[in-house]
Amino acid sequence: MECIITIELGTNGVRVFAFDLSGHVLHSMKGHYPTFHTDPDHSEQDPEQIFITTLYVIKNLLNQYIYPKKYKVACICFSAAMHSLLAVDKNGNPLGNAITWADNRAKKEALELRRSTRGASLYAATGTPIHPMSPLLKIAWLKNRDPERFKQTSKFLSIKSYIIHQLTGKYLIDYSIASATGLLNIHTVAWEADALQYAGITAAQLPELAPIFTTAGKLKMAYQQSLGLPADVKILIGSSDGCLATLGDGVKGEGKATITIEDSGAVRVMGPTVLKDDQMRFFNYLLTDDCYVSGGPTNNGGNIFDWFARQFGDFTKPFDIADSMQLLLEEASKIPAGSDGLLFLPYLLGERAPIWNANARGTYFGLNIKHERKHFIRATIEGILYEIYSIGKSLGEQRNIKSLSVNGSFGTIPFCTQIIADMFNKPVQLRREFHSVSFGAWLLSATEMGLYRSLDEAARIVELPDMYEPDQQHHAMYADYFGIFEKLSTKLFDEFEAIGNLQQKYAATKTVTV
């Protein structure tokens, strides 16, 4: 019997799934790797630890669950978080840690470029919003602030490119990850000359571009032996987590959108054309050279509810945040939709789409003497979801969204999914086992292996069994409150900036108090 292994190089760790050839999960395992914040704006990961963790998890999964059942691995397919950057020297050895999407060090470069006409033309060409997350700006930062490392760099890789290079010796980057670097022209599918010039690099310093179906070379002998894999195992380069989550939910075709809410979140659509936007609010990434995954990302998803639970939740057992969240959800469900008029702006981490304001901050608004603790819980959840709705609403200006699917650990909490259905006034579907990204990687692998004729055909088999229908009354109420949410989000622009500045100013003079 043959099986397919998918490897998801995520923000907090690696997830490895084993599927059979009909798309059933045989088993999955994860391995955590840390993010280092040596400076508040820095967010880095150790490429060697990512590599070792990945090997370790694959090895454990194969030895404990796959080989004992006599499965043979036919294919290994990769997915990864977007926007990572790793500089390597001429021997392919890392120059420092990998810089992740959450890194904000290039904020000054981003602000300047975003305000320039060059920024607008680069956005139109590359589809990647001008933001510190973009590798384009990270490379520019290295050039300006770390010239020694910049000079020694032979290649600028993504984390996935590094892992693939370790395994097969090839420097490759797939279309999806490449289209999220801010360096790729998404219309011609070639490195964008003006972006290279802005970053101060040549195309030779980037890995070779490869469609998502590319076989990324042959697995090195040493890893064949240590992992017990056959020499002919296919190493598929795969795509990005965002693109694969969209594919995995079957969002290929008209009228569909998918909402992902993990720690952060996004609303995405897929189609043959890009979303053009003068305000540069949306991303346009490539799945294949004729299929774009477009949408808007938010910084403030499940991590904000995590924050709330840590601060205000009850911990009956030490460190049991899941239990604490469950109690909060039970309390929130006792409050009517709309939280009796208590609104929450969830911008604790600044915000990307649709307002793109790094200075934005969290706000509870409309508080009156009758509000209780329970209202805060519900308002917090509703605020996170109003923000998701505001992205969806702006996408709706360009695409006619008829149905929605939801994935990600926060979005698939039934309480949250129902609120999403009510806010959007659309039916929402989801899968009971939550692995849209890996399932997308399976669809990709299965298509490559000839089980389906095309990704379109593969996407059509996706069944999302759970359905949430919108409640009209709740929808009308949410729509009313949303008007105020939306206004506040932009109206407070000056005050967000002022309070952000003060927070920064007084953080510097902080003294130790017990």
Partner: protein, 295 residues
């Protein structure tokens, strides 16, 4: 309780307790100048506030202490108040001499009933988690009171009971410090804290008990939480970090494979080589060759 001071060498009460260098109670009715000057000693010093409010400087940082708080000063750390001012209020204190090992680790002396490994773990955690002010730590006050009572009462078995109380104090301090640093809410943050401690001292032969104690958890719960959060058992996660660090060092030509093995916490280069090959398929020396002269 009246004011008093007992000092090693001067006070007969301490003759059986050479590890206690000083203890006492102070009630300060008026602000005094030039009495509470900054000093550093080889003892572990502990000050428990019962009344008033004291502004003290520990390790160059200013702190304000209130009743129920404990100032904990490790050997070599500067402690006192600016200009030697002593404010109005009461506190009791205790100075204990610890054994200091070559690697800087602290151990309780022979007087202690703690097992060797628990004594070592406590000494290590005090250094790694060092928190100069332990807030709302009334247990410490109770233990000090009990020691005072035993020392003045001289009842049968008091020598053993005083030493028991000292052990109890060390255990309580360690537990209080770890729970204060890890409020049992944010496991990712706690895990990050653990990870940093492991990386700072990777050559050390960590046990699961020590890792769990470092973040203030029992080993059963600790192992379960680490496994569900990281996907690995604590020891396997540690091996993971060890190999990752070893890879980085192997890519630099200036350190021998044997040194890398020991620096990253393997018993021997043989142990390193076996573990490394099992995971990566390469012997460390071959891995190094491949990466130093790639193309």
């Amino acid at each position: 309780m009246h004011q008093f001071v007992l000092q090693r060498g001067k006070s007969a009460e301490l003759r059986l307790f050479p590890h206690i260098s000083e203890l006492g109670i102070k009630k300060n009715g008026a602000i005094q100048l030039n009495t509470f000057l900054s000093t550093a000693t080889d003892d572990i010093r502990l000050y428990y506030i019962t009344e008033g409010k004291f502004g003290w400087r520990i390790d160059h940082q200013p702190y304000v202490l209130y009743p129920g708080d404990v100032a904990l000063i490790l050997p070599g750390v500067l402690f006192g108040s600016d200009d030697g001012v002593l404010e109005i209020g009461s506190f009791s204190w205790l100075h204990i001499s610890m054994q200091k090992l070559g690697n800087g680790h602290l151990l309780p002396g022979k007087w202690s009933g703690l097992s060797e490994s628990e004594g070592a773990a406590i000494g290590k955690i005090l250094l790694l988690n060092y928190t100069p002010v332990l807030s709302r730590f009334n247990e410490a006050g109770k233990i000090l009171k009990c020691i005072h009572a035993e020392l003045s009462g001289h009842e049968i078995g008091y020598q053993t009971r005083v030493n028991h109380q000292l052990d109890e104090l060390l255990i309580q301090i360690t537990r209080h410090m770890t729970t204060q640093n890890n409020p049992c809410r944010d496991f990712p943050k706690t895990f990050m804290h653990l990870e940093e401690a492991l990386r700072r001292d990777l050559s050390y032969q960590w046990t699961v008990e020590e890792m769990a104690a470092l973040v203030g958890m029992g080993t059963t719960l600790f192992t379960e939480r680490v496994k569900s959060y990281s996907g690995f058992s604590p020891i396997n996660y540690l091996i993971n970090i060890r190999i990752s660090e070893a890879i980085k060092l192997l890519k630099r030509p200036d350190i021998s494979v044997t040194d890398i093995a020991l620096d990253t916490g393997f018993y021997s280069s043989q142990h390193f080589s076996t573990t490394f090959k099992k995971l990566t398929g390469y012997r460390p020396s071959d891995f190094r060759k491949n990466h130093l002269h790639n193309k």
